[in-house]
Amino acid sequence: MGLLNFTRDPVPEAVSGDMHNLNQLSAQQFSALTEVLFRFLTEPKEVERFLTQLSDFATMNKISLGPLKNIVKSILLVPNGALKRNLSSEQVRADFIALGLSEEKASYFAEQWKVNSPTLTRLAVGQTLMINQLIDMEWKFGVTAGSSELEKVGSIFLQLKLVIKKGSQTENIYIELTLPQFYSFLHEMERVKTSLESFS
């Protein structure tokens, strides 16, 4: 096996056997299986649904679920590696062929890869590390009517609650701003937006 695009590590031995089994599927069966796989890749949280669909596929096509799961594990190696390395669909196709998949099936899979890669890329970017990500902001403003030092105040206050994701927990930060600070904050945030937009 020549150099693969999707990984530098040696591929598990079982993979070529799994590819051989895949080649035995009809074009229709392969297409149905590919659909199940991509639906899972684009919605990785739907694990239950994925397993159910695999199980249905196994029953309908009279394949045992155990071997099918192994085949699926082997197939998934390629798209996962391809995503990390920003591979093109030609490279994905070449890798499948190198692993032993038929040209027809490899081309079909690579085509589906091309169609789904914007969504998959967006998902991968979304998983990228963020430090203290701001996930929510709540606010209220009002008038301070009086205090223990001043019977009548009549000044405006603005309170912000920022919800920050710290690791796996969220933390609430409460801050108060005066009116001039608020306008200054708003102005700065608008400058940030302009800056972000010029880089998008």
């Binding site: 995503l83 990390k84 390395r85 920003n86 890329t121 991968a124 970017v125 998983q127 990228t128 590390l129 963020m130 430090i131 203290n132 990500q133 701001l134 996930i135 902001m137 606010w139 403003f141 301070t144 205090s147 223990s148 030092e149 001043l150 019977e151 009548k152 105040v153 000044s155 405006i156 206050f157 603005l158 309170q159 920022l162 920050i164 930060i173 409460y174 801050i175 108060e176 701003l177 009116l179 600070q181 608020f182 306008y183 904050f185 708003l186 700065e188 945030m189 608008e190 940030v192 937006k193 800056s195 972000l196 937009e197 880089f199 998008s200």
Partner: protein, 198 residues
């Protein structure tokens, strides 16, 4: 509501022993700014200047504190209102001097009271920078702009006294989060204008 009890006005007359008008002015300012707990030490410091015993100084300082705070609390702004707080038999010149000093200081004292009132932690400064993420473990090539926002937050002034505790919080915002935030801030601005124009 009377500003002070009768005994307290008597205590104020100790000011007649002050070396100068400036000394009286200085003492008024210190008495206003001091929290009740700080009045004891302040009285001790004032003793020598007023040639007064510790008990007399304490009563004076307490009376001055109460008087100045009363004026600021009730938002009195006219000389007549302040003059009328004093009993009829109070020393005229001292009454006029105190009224003059208080009137001069009211704006500054009001600001001081507002600045030191209780509040949630306050935003004191903010800085930002925009980064472009080019690579990560989940995807090796990308160009995603992101914003890092550093907020300097000061804990409640009333709790910290003279040594304010300022903490820095750095927060990361994606473009989408920033857009949503700006939407919220824009709504606040619109509502503020609506309130202001009423």
């Amino acid at each position: 509501m009377a500003a002070l009890r009768d005994g307290e006005f008597v205590a104020l007359q100790s000011l007649l022993k002050a070396p100068s008008r400036d000394a009286v002015r200085q003492l008024c300012q210190e008495c206003f700014s001091s929290p009740p707990a700080g009045l004891g030490p302040l009285a001790q410091r004032a003793c020598p200047g007023l040639t007064a015993g510790p008990e007399e100084a304490e009563q004076l300082v307490s009376a001055l504190h109460n008087l100045t705070r009363h004026v600021v609390y009730h938002g009195l702004t006219r000389a007549e209102d302040i003059l009328s707080l004093f009993p009829k038999d109070f020393h005229q010149n001292l009454k006029n001097l105190l009224t003059k000093i208080i009137l001069e200081n009211i704006p500054a004292w009001r600001n001081e009271a507002q600045a030191s009132q209780i509040s949630l932690p306050r935003l004191v400064d903010m800085d930002w920078r925009v980064d472009i993420k080019t690579s990560s473990d989940s995807i090796s090539r990308m160009a995603v702009p992101t914003c890092l926002l550093q907020l300097k937050i000061q804990e409640d002034v009333a709790l910290c006294g003279n040594s304010p505790v300022v903490s820095a919080l750095t927060v990361e915002l994606s473009k989408e989060t920033l857009d949503t935030m700006l939407e919220g801030l824009g709504r606040i601005r619109d509502q503020l204008s609506a309130v202001a124009s009423k």
